[in-house]
Amino acid sequence: MPSEYRLILKHLDQPGYTPDLDCYLRHDGYHVLRQALALAPRPGPDGKPISPQEQLRHEVTLSGLRGRGGAGFSCGLKWSLVDRKSGKPIYLVCNADESEPGTFKDRQVIYKDPHQLLEGLILSSYANDVHLAYIYIRGEFVEGARILERALAEARAQGFLGRNILGSGYDLEVYVHRGAGAYICGEETGLLESLEGKRPYPRVKPPYFPAVLGLYLCPTIVNNVETLCAVKHVMALGGAEYAKLGTPNNTGTRLVSLSGHIQRPGYYEIEVGKVTLGELIFDPAFGNGLRPSRRLKAIIPGGVSAKIFKAGEKVKVKRPGPDGRELEQTLDVLELPYDFTSLTAAGSMSGSGAIIVLDDTTDMVSALANISEFFAHESCGQCTPCREGSLWLAKALRRLTQGAGRAQDAEYLARIADSIPGGRTICAFGEACSWPVQSTVAKFKDEFVARGKDHEARRTAAAQAGETAK
């Protein structure tokens, strides 16, 4: 029986659990931080001492933790790329911009268990010799920002933050910075620009890799809210122990936001790869299936940027077989384990962990038009293909929902979408705005062609009616 595995969500929905520090402390809060700060240098194999910070970073590497913001980049590797020799301060920024449509997981922690995030953030800061960290929070989370401010004040008052944290000699200050309402502020370098008070134009990489030239051109770590929470559990369990959760290369637990045409939308926590996409949608422990007499039509498996799956679609994935060797298997999309590797292998991604389920009442043209409007509105407009392409797609789809479609529009949309991604743009928004179009038009081509033909036929009929009326 598939079931939830609540690690990050362990307490936050329990009756009587409140976001204040007392409650957190009653639940063993800041215990991991206390332990970490008490760590002593340990002699390494070569006799040289390994600093507590290095030890903590090593645990994160051992844990196999992958970023939960969208790209699934190894957290240990990200931390190891930080330029520690520059002599410049190292900053840590928590990405709390959560704006990928369909995603509503980070906010659960922010609103209901802010100290868990803070503990993860302080631990991560300590492990990376960071003395100044920021939480960049989505502008619409007005209350969330207040809750975080309150939590920070409480933590400061109790010595978990500020100077000489818990008598360890370690200093850390954390500031909450509110965004002004733009999806692109979630892209890490756009976020850094915004944090610096500028327009959130994502930076060109190379040379502006945050690990080297991040905030104020200093080495910077950007991690998602959930990633930082997971760090707390990595430190609590130990990296090797944490890695036993989930599946190889897809370790730990993951928050999943389930929405769309299902019976039990909501957020769930699973061991990564231990639950399939189908179970997430149909199992009573999760989505509990579609509404009566509805049939599954499509699944967006990782936020609207992810390539869509069509119900019944078969995908080829390479997975370790019983003997550990890689085996190519053909699976129905519903059989895909919900993890980073399988979804990528299946041609999509688990992205932000947001699954949107679409049943047979969905008009794919309208659904895609809706998604494309979002991207046209949110493109920062810095680089040509995305700036012009995102609105072009939205306009074409708008036309196709308003009776002015053409039979060739499916092809037209595909061609426009093909000219945007693949490294032609400054940031991954280029992929984000074109993948849904490429995949939806390809997999539901009949629907798009039929819509265009229908509009053409109506126009012809109307023109003929006009002729005869004369």
Partner: protein, 575 residues
């Protein structure tokens, strides 16, 4: 010392090189090259391609601006040496290094090269990427090049022809944006033509230090704008018009005056301050229509201040002096005038002649004046001219050739300090003949009543003033745009300028009539080419030693000021 040896170039390219292959041709390029500030940074693909003689089309990239990487026109494909599991380079059966093509393209303007890199600028994929960038740029762009002022200088037009699709597939409605935006006192903006390359923004922010320009709105609605409620008005705004690759920014001064392909362009210098920015004079039918910057990394890079750029109208003023005049003029011919003046000078008692020259005259002209003064025992000086300067191009010395005048021994130390001695000598009756070149001396302590006491006042100038009014012999001269010569800028760089337009009426270049006058006074033949004259000066005046006319080239040659002490004073009276 040879002329070449004294040319200072900006940050010398590093000697160690990297081998890269551009479209199949392997070239060794410097590992480091100067960035927009001149700082040595890793060489980028676009620079490597340039060194290999391959032009990569680009809009947002400009060698003298920070890199933005936004237009995506410069996307290229590339490969890197393939590495084995242990990071060892893999070799092909023939022993050569195996190269693995990257699955993703890269922007040539921002991507550093690495050893063994192969850059492909002409693959079908690259061509397709360029064509689609152009298609994207054009979907919301007006298609009315024939009425656009940029036509002929437009990169959008140019690249569309070279790299574009035959037809656009766009069938949606275009985004409309503000058309005639009055950005500031000198600049108009057409937002529909703007391709949002941010060159103008980067120049204004990072070079002019003014945060006036920015982009408002999002996505395809992005619009270039000046800060709300503020005019785009700093001393350097017009450079953005040069930088704009399309017809979005236009100079109010020049817009819709002339199709650029009708302009004749002449290499010249700005004369509005001592920096001596290099310009091209754009003229047509003997009328000057604009100055544009001419690149010189040692002087103005590729920028001009607005004041200098626009300060050319006086050259075409209708009240220009165009005829010989004066009560002592025996006949209205140059021959008669010069004979008269030469006569006067030859017979003058030593000490009774003085010359007020101008630091707006060329080195060669000042050299002739120096010789003339030597022959007649005349004292000389110039009129200093100063005004506000800044930490960038604009210099407080508003004369273009103060240092030349100083090095040729024409100006006193400090410049202008001898003018009061001239006044006293006129008052005492010892100074009886005064030659004035290109200056109104009446506000400089040599008022009309003093000038009226002279036996002979010879004046050469361009525009009428209270000094020319009193001239006994008036010789109509030329603006620098009407002649050829050299100036020495405040940093000691000797630079050439050439004739763009004909002088009005009977006006003649000073260099010509000074030569004739000197010949008449000294009885010695003088070289009759700019080159010959320059070489004689270089042989005679130590400050010019080693310089040759040809060696000055397009960007001049530096002879740094020998000492700060003798630098022309910037804080002297305003002029």
């Amino acid at each position: 010392m040879s002329a070449a040896a004294v040319v200072t170039s900006p940050a010398p390219p590093s000697s160690d090189t990297v081998n890269v292959t551009v479209d199949g041709r392997t070239v060794a390029v410097p590992r480091l090259l100067p960035d927009w500030r001149g700082k040595l940074v890793p060489t980028t693909m676009i620079q490597a391609c340039e060194q290999a003689g391959v032009e990569v089309p680009h809009y947002c990239y400009h060698a003298k601006l920070p890199v933005a990487g936004n237009c995506r026109m410069c996307l290229v494909e590339y490969g890197l040496p393939a590495l084995g599991p242990e990071g060892q380079p893999l070799r092909k059966p023939d022993g050569s290094l195996a190269v693995k093509k990257s699955p993703r393209p890269a922007i040539a303007c921002a991507t550093p090269i690495s050893p063994g890199m192969e850059i492909y600028t002409a693959t079908p994929e690259v061509q397709q990427m360029r064509a689609s960038v152009l298609e994207f740029l054009l979907i919301n762009h007006p298609l009315d090049c024939p009425i656009c002022d940029q036509a002929g200088e437009c990169k959008l037009q140019e690249y569309s022809v070279e790299y574009g699709h035959a037809a656009s597939r766009f069938v949606e409605t275009k985004v409309h944006k503000p058309k005639q935006v009055d950005l500031g006192p000198r600049i108009m903006l057409d937002d529909e033509r703007c391709i949002l390359c941010t060159r103008c923004i980067r120049f204004t922010r990072d070079l002019a230090g003014d945060d006036a320009l920015g982009i408002v709105n999002r996505g395809s609605y992005n619009t270039l704008a000046a800060y709300p409620g503020r005019a785009f008005d700093n001393p350097y705004t017009l450079n953005t018009v040069d930088l704009c690759p399309v017809g979005a920014l236009t100079a109010k001064d020049f817009r819709f005056q002339m199709r650029v392909w009708f302009l004749k362009e002449t290499k010249s210098l700005c004369t509005s301050c001592g920096t001596g920015c290099n310009v091209l004079i754009g003229s047509r039918e003997n009328r000057i229509l604009r100055y544009t910057p001419r690149a010189n990394d040692a002087v103005n890079v590729c920028w001009l201040c607005d004041h200098g750029r626009l300060n050319y109208r006086w050259i075409g003023r209708p009240d220009r002096l165009r005829q010989l005049a004066g009560s002592r003029l025996p006949a209205p011919t140059w021959d008669a005038a010069l004979t008269e003046v030469a006569q006067r000078l030859r017979h003058a008692v030593p000490g009774s002649v003085a010359v007020v020259a101008s630091a707006r005259l060329a080195n060669e002209e000042l050299y002739l004046i120096r010789r003339l003064a030597q022959h007649t025992g005349a004292a000389t000086d110039i009129v200093p001219r100063s005004g506000p300067g800044d930490a960038w191009l604009i210099h407080a010395d508003k004369n273009p050739n103060s240092l030349g005048a100083q090095r040729l021994g024409i100006s006193a130390d400090p410049a202008g300090s001898r003018l009061s001695q001239f006044a006293a000598a006129i008052g005492q009756g010892t100074l009886r003949t005064l030659l004035v070149f290109g200056e109104d001396v009446t506000p400089r302590g040599l008022g009309p009543e003093l000038l009226d006491r002279l036996e002979c006042l010879v004046v050469s100038d361009i525009l009428p003033n209270r000094t020319t009014e009193r001239a006994h012999v008036l010789l109509p001269g030329c603006a620098h745009a009407e002649k050829c010569g050299s100036f020495t800028n405040v940093h000691g760089r000797v630079q050439r300028f050439f004739k763009a337009v004909e002088p009005p009426g009977g006006a003649r270049p000073e260099v010509e009539f000074l030569r004739e006058l000197l010949q008449r006074v000294s009885g010695e033949p003088q070289p009759d080419t700019a080159e010959g004259l320059f070489h004689r000066m270089a042989a005679e005046v130590p400050a010019f030693a080693g310089l040759t006319w040809a060696g000055l080239g397009d960007t001049g040659a530096a002879r740094p000021p020998e000492a700060e002490r003798v630098r022309p004073r910037a804080d002297a009276t305003a002029g």
